[in-house]
Amino acid sequence: MTLHAPLAIEATGLVKTYGETTAVAGIDLAVPAGVVYGVLGPNGAGKTTTIRMLATLIRPDSGSARVLGHDVVTEADAVREQVSLTGQLASVDEELTGRENLVLLGRLLGLRRVAARERADELLEAFGISAAAGKLVKHYSGGMRRRLDIAASIVVTPRLMFLDEPTTGLDPRSRNHVWEIARALVAEGTTILLCTQYLEEADQLADGIAVIDRGRVIAEGTPGQLKASVGTGALHVRLLDPDRRPEAAALLERAVGSAVLEPDPAALSAQCTDSARAALGVAELARAGIGIADFSLDQPSLDEVFLALTGHAAEEPPTATLEEQTS
């Protein structure tokens, strides 16, 4: 992220309340153009409400935001001309076919009939949905539905795309496809605001991340910086011989820095700050002739990031969840 790049999104002090519930309690964002910017947070943190304000779907109670240089309240149509929404934010029509959905959007965006049909076919082909083009969307598989969702939001290529939970519920293969499409969009100059609950997804795609909790931005930075603030996670080791666990624990204490005995009598784990030290720990065990059944290094989860940043778990207060669904 360069400091002097023009900003695609510039929000100051956004607030939105619903009755007693404060969904967004004063959010500032500065998203440079041409990058993927991740908004990370658990359900109910205020992500969706924030994005709905930025996408002109709801008006902020206070604060202001400019998207691609236009005010989201006073110049809403100018914003709408250049952005598109996906996922829970703006659904495709399940009772139409994939092709009809794309033609419909093409027409609504101002394409003439023939051009709208040609564009629909081009997108169906590119996104690998041609074979199901004439089927109703409600019969689509999850991955296909998600691709149609994204195709629908690039019927006319937007300058900014709100990508909402693009891979929730997808198998790893479909997830990779979605990530590839997102990268292709950025390569062509579109800015993406990625809304996600997965640190790994933000890590894969985002150049910058804002972590949101209880309606506020509680941390901002690159994925690397964020992860550094929590460590790379934990090294898990399972020994062949449970009797040698005390010895292994002592070795790990020295090599990695900490060791925790797990309920499984053959297993132990160590929190570590970087993967090189974890590798060193495994090497030390091998050198001491302690047999290892298996070992793994896990990524810190969003829960751990949250715990580290906020001191509380990334749980969802029931009232906020309700609010996010109905707002």
Binding site: A78, T97, L109, E125, A126, F127, R147
Partner: protein
């Protein structure tokens, strides 16, 4: 997903990049063009979910058969005499029942997030609402036509002929267009399509029965008769009856049109406001 039939069940990144790079933004569509596009969407739904149409035509046809052959003789002396009386009323009933679906489909769009997609587009704000009601009007016309055709098959012959039947149909469709906005408001306020359906029919069902659709109100007890006579559905049924009989009742026709205009005047702005602020 038919992965077997096509080698491309996944996105082709190169093609995606070409597709992303290839568009220039066209000028915004005009209000009329946007509304007609939404009307087209409504038509597609009729094509894909014809059951919806079946729901609202089967009930009136059932009523038509039941009332004509079961009660017709008792109520009007003969089944054919009763059919003459009740057919215009059943036309009204069947089309008005269909209007509830305007609210149901709006609520479905809302709960599924389709409305948000439309609201995120730079189009004339009321276009989605007007357009889908345009589409609904075609549905109203189809429902009405079914009732009239079944009536003709059973022996109903409007004195004013085809022209009278068409005039009555047009009358009902115009009234329904006004009434639809009431259900649109319900659709925007209530939580689920089912709630809209229940609330909608809870209102329209008794109103239809407490009218002159099925029986001549002359036999009713005083207070009920008074209600039936001012019930807009009675007035609409009277208007349709008069049009089909070739003796247009100017008062009933004008009052019906005024009620439709009044409903639209109150509930259309309410609908657009709720739609915008959701």
């Amino acid at each position: 997903m038919s992965a077997a039939t096509s080698g491309t069940d996944a996105a082709d990144t190169a093609a995606v990049r070409r597709a992303i790079a290839s568009t220039a933004r066209p000028p915004r569509p005009g209000p009329l063009s946007a509304a007609l596009t939404f009307g087209w969407r409504g038509m597609l739904k009729v094509k894909h979910v014809p059951e919806q149409l079946l729901d609202v035509t089967v009930t009136p046809v059932m009523f038509l058969l039941m009332f004509t052959y079961l009660f017709g003789g008792a109520i009007a002396g003969s089944t054919s005499a009763y059919l003459d009386y009740t057919l215009p009323g059943l036309l009204v009933m069947s089309v008005l029942f269909t209007t509830v679906y305007a609210g149901i489909s709006l609520n479905t769009d809302l709960t599924k997030g389709v409305v948000d997609r439309f609201r995120s587009l730079p189009i004339w704000r009321p276009a989605p609402l007007l357009g889908s009601l345009l589409g609904d009007s075609v549905r109203y016309a189809i429902a009405g036509t079914v009732v009239i055709v079944v009536g003709v098959v059973l022996g109903y012959r409007p004195d004013a002929g085809v022209a009278g039947a068409l005039a009555a149909l047009a009358m009902v469709v115009v009234f329904s267009f006004g009434l639809s906005w009431v259900f649109c408001v319900l659709g925007l306020l209530l939580r689920s399509p089912n709630a809209v359906m229940n609330a909608g029919f809870m209102g329209i069902f008794p109103l239809t029965f407490l009218s002159n659709v099925f029986v001549d109100p002359a036999t009713l007890p005083g207070p009920l008769q008074a209600f039936v006579e001012v019930n807009p559905i009675s007035i609409l049924a009277t208007a349709c009856r008069s049009l089909m009989d070739g003796t247009p009742d100017a008062v009933a026709i004008l009052v019906s049109l005024a009620v439709a205009a009044g409903l639209a005047a109150v509930f259309l702005p309410l609908t657009t406001r709720l739609y915008r602020s959701r």
